[in-house]
């Protein structure tokens, strides 16, 4: 690890990707993540990598498909409407079992929306905006240091399970600055080999292909079953969460990403008022840590979800809580960021009921 430096969120994610050995980046500018594209344009040539600005997000995701199929560590970043355009290609990559890291710096929607921070892409990212039976591991950082660590982790998870992985960020995380410590860079030549599946040239071995297609339903079902086995492994191994002040809880908040850290301040405010509040912060949104949340729900009467959306993660929270506690919701929409005071007020309203 080096010394601490102040960086913007977009730069933190970009630099982390390069240190993870990513040498191929495709992108198309869109606010509020254009600084990440810009950072990669500057950095990739310095490390002997490839930066390519595609003509659209649709082209971007198909370039990801191509570069990944020959074994490269590939990445793109975009914001909500751009991520929507990538969905078809992501479904193709999932079926073809191609690793790749996608960063969605979520902004207010629906439609063209605005350029302020939001978490309204939860359904699109976590439940899959594309077609067919696929899942994507999704990680939602709440600080820039965590964004660095999760970006590097995302590449490892993508390669290990041969799947696209998404970093769920938002406009606030993209624009804010915080000190981070970057780990030492990984030499891409030392990464685990992909020679057992990647299209590296068939000289001296049997030809192989990477595809997301089979006209024979029985064969396609077999491909599907391999995916489903992979998702079972991912659900078993890749759950991540943080618990904050949950030892003696009477009330539990659930929030992810930047809202997660805002809620930590609300937890402290509640405790000043004598309310024993705590926070459960899912870090992996898929696989969602249902089991641990279910255990915590047994200790409380209220599990309150806070999001910058109309209550999308709330559905997963309710699946975990299974009626063991009340599950009220507080959310702001369209790019409005909730403050600790507003969150506390929403909780007090629930407690007075």
């Amino acid at each position: 690890m080096g010394e601490k430096i102040m960086v913007k969120g977009t730069e933190a994610i970009g630099e982390a990707a390069i240190r993870a050995g990513c040498r191929v980046y495709f992108g198309y500018p869109i606010t509020p993540q254009s600084e990440l594209t810009e950072y990669m344009a500057r950095r990739m040539p310095q490390v002997g990598g490839v930066f390519l600005q595609a003509e659209s997000e649709v082209a971007t995701v198909n370039m990801m498909y191509g570069a990944s199929s020959v074994g490269a560590r590939v990445m793109t970043s975009t914001s909500s409407p751009g991520f929507s355009l990538m969905q078809e290609g992501i479904s193709y990559m999932a079926c073809a079992r191609l690793p790749g890291v996608f960063v969605d710096v979520v902004r207010g929607g629906p439609g063209l929306g605005d350029i302020q921070p939001s978490q309204g892409d939860y359904f699109q990212i976590v439940k899959g905006g594309g077609h067919g039976d696929y899942r994507l591991p999704v990680f939602s950082p709440s600080s820039l240091q965590e964004a660095v660590e999760l970006t590097i982790h995302a590449f490892d998870v993508a390669d290990k399970y041969r799947t696209p992985v998404v970093i769920f960020a938002d406009g606030m995380m993209g624009q804010m600055m915080e000190p981070v410590e970057f780990p030492d860079p990984i030499d891409p030549s030392t990464l685990p080999s992909k020679d057992d599946w990647a299209l590296t040239g068939a000289k001296g071995r049997k030809a192989r292909y990477v595809t997301s297609f089979d006209i024979d339903p029985y064969k396609l079902e077999k491909m599907n079953l391999v995916l489903q086995e992979t998702y079972k492994e991912i659900e078993k191994n890749e759950q991540k969460w943080e618990e904050f002040m949950t030892d003696d809880i009477e009330v539990l908040f659930v929030a992810h990403g930047t809202v997660g850290r805002i809620v930590k301040s609300a937890v402290k405010l509640a405790r000043q008022k004598g309310i024993k509040a705590g926070l459960f912060r899912p870090i992996s949104l898929y696989p969602f840590p249902y089991k641990r949340l279910s255990e915590l729900a047994e200790k409380v009467d209220i599990v309150m979800t806070v999001e910058m959306s109309s209550g999308q993660m709330l559905e997963d929270v309710r699946l975990a809580v299974e009626g063991k506690a009340e599950t009220p919701f507080y959310g702001r929409l369209a790019g409005v960021v909730p403050t600790p005071g507003e969150i506390l007020e929403a909780l007090m309203k629930e407690l007075r009921r």
Binding site: M6, M176, E178, I262, V267, P340
Partner: protein, 183 residues
């Protein structure tokens, strides 16, 4: 626990963002936990630029602040917006070159800084944000002047290095003004 929650606000171009970045960077140099959050909300359309800085002994939870305990105000719209939000007994550093009206709060500490005039005398009006910064660190004691100088040296490299001395001088002048008013 020590936690400074600062909002710096003014028009775009007054150097408000850099003001906040220098406080955050200096805090980091001192080994404190810091966040810097630029105004990134619907209020940008109203014409003001602002940033929120948190400097703390503990990891910073929310980078979003309901009630700052310190505000550095560079123009009238920002005074109207942020003075009511200031925590009880908070600190207000006011650029009186730009603001010809009196704050209404009686419970707070007010430092009045004719930042533009001071910077102008030093030869560059642009350094008015550094005059404000000097006054701010003198009254709020968030970070030491040595750390701010180090932060400035890290920021102003290459072509910008020639402006380092005048910026340091501006910070010292700001500190002097605050010291005089604090008595």
């Amino acid at each position: 626990m020590m936690e400074h929650k600062l909002i710096a606000a003014g028009f775009g171009g007054q150097g408000v963002m850099l003001f906040g970045q220098m406080v955050a960077q200096a805090g980091m140099i001192e080994g404190k936990h810091v966040t810097w959050l630029p105004s990134y909300g619907p209020e940008m359309r109203g014409g003001t630029a602002n940033c929120t800085v948190v400097v703390s002994d503990e990891p910073v939870a929310s980078p979003v602040v309901d009630k700052p305990n310190e505000i550095a105000i560079f123009n009238i719209p920002s005074l109207l917006k942020f003075e009511p939000m200031l925590e009880e007994n908070g600190i207000l550093v006011l650029n009186t070159s730009m603001i010809d009206r009196e704050p209404t709060r009686k419970d707070i500490t007010i430092i009045r800084v004719p930042a533009n005039e001071v910077a102008d005398k030093l030869g560059t009006l642009k350094a008015q944000n550094m005059v404000m910064l000097g006054a701010y660190i003198e009254v709020a004691k968030t970070v030491s002047v040595e750390s701010v100088f180090k932060a400035l040296e890290a920021k102003m490299t290459g072509k910008k290095a020639q402006f380092l001395d005048v910026n340091k001088k501006a910070i010292e002048e700001g500190m002097k003004i605050a010291r005089q008013q604090l008595g």
